[in-house]
């Protein structure tokens, strides 16, 4: 299991007060993440895989989703997930780095998922009681249960679906063939 001992110790040596405040918040985040990452790995859906480039930086990792059903089945979709030092008062930042045709993910990689919203009045947004495993579950479900054509980020994709499901399906497949095979 990944430990943060090296990083936490280094942080403790820095003495000027501004970076001290930053380090204090970062260390709160890192302590939360030690538990959350472990829990996330233990509950990872079979369609998901998580990679840390640097095991000392738990606040940055790559999620790969390989949907086994639905329109995007067979594609490999990569997401960059990072937590600022404001975590867990602020939600993780998520960017999809695989180009895809999806009503809730823009072609530029912006992801529309309610629990990733910082401010929400409906109670569906981010809350510090949520954890990384909830985010993984949410992103994974965007390819199945949470797929939503009513409030689209990619309007064209949603409109195409409503007009002509076959064209939608084949456009999704084209994108998968072109961008999401590895």
């Amino acid at each position: 299991m990944i430990t943060l001992r090296g990083k936490l110790k280094k942080d403790g040596d820095v003495s000027n007060s501004k970076s001290k405040e930053y380090n204090k918040r970062a260390s709160v985040r890192d302590k939360l993440l030690v538990k959350e990452v472990q829990e996330m790995e233990q509950t990872l859906p079979s369609t998901c895989q998580v990679t840390f480039d640097d095991p000392h930086r738990l606040h940055e990792f790559i999620l790969m989703i390989v949907p086994d059903e639905g329109y995007w089945a067979g594609g490999r979709f990569y997401f960059q997930i990072s937590m600022s030092e404001e975590y867990n008062m602020a939600p993780p930042k998520v960017k999809c780095t695989t180009k895809l045709w999806h009503p809730n993910i823009s072609e530029e990689g912006a992801v529309c998922l309610s629990i990733l919203r910082q401010n929400s009045i409906d109670g569906m947004g981010w809350a510090p009681t949520r954890k990384l495993k909830d985010v993984i579950w949410g992103l994974n479900s965007l390819f199945t249960d949470l797929l939503n054509f009513d409030d689209p980020l990619n309007r064209d994709a949603a409109e195409l679906y409503l007009k002509d499901k076959d064209s939608f399906r084949s456009k999704v497949k084209d994108y998968v063939r072109q961008y999401a095979k590895r």
Binding site: V28, L32, M89, G123, G125, A127, P128
Partner: protein, 111 residues
């Protein structure tokens, strides 16, 4: 010092028990560890027991835990409890209980 009573092994008088019916005492062993009903056991924001100092206060006060005197517990009208420190950070951006989404208003504070 209030701290010392946490470590006191022979406190048999049950002082803490008589006033507060909101709690159920689940465990009582020789080192005087106890836990409340699961619901208010752990602060759902920082995941530290509400009776201990919150994660942020722990990061502040290096090895000693004198900071914990100021780190109190807060109960909402919804009966959910958190560290006051944790909850006051959260209500700055969203004045709802993060567990039940009810409008947050403080019922009481204390330890």
């Amino acid at each position: 010092m209030a701290d010392s009573e946490q470590d006191n092994t022979d406190r048999g008088d049950g002082d803490n028990l008589k006033s507060d019916k909101l709690f159920t005492l689940k465990k009582w062993n020789a080192v005087a560890m106890w836990s409340w009903d699961v619901e208010c056991d752990t602060c759902a924001i920082c995941r530290v027991q509400v009776m201990d100092a919150c994660l942020r206060c722990q990061a502040e006060s290096k090895k000693d835990f004198y900071g914990r005197q100021d780190c109190v517990v807060v109960w909402g009208e919804c009966n959910h409890s958190f560290h006051y420190c944790c909850m006051s950070l959260w209500v700055k951006q969203n004045n709802r209980c993060p567990l039940c989404q009810q409008e947050w208003s403080i019922q009481r504070m204390g330890k």
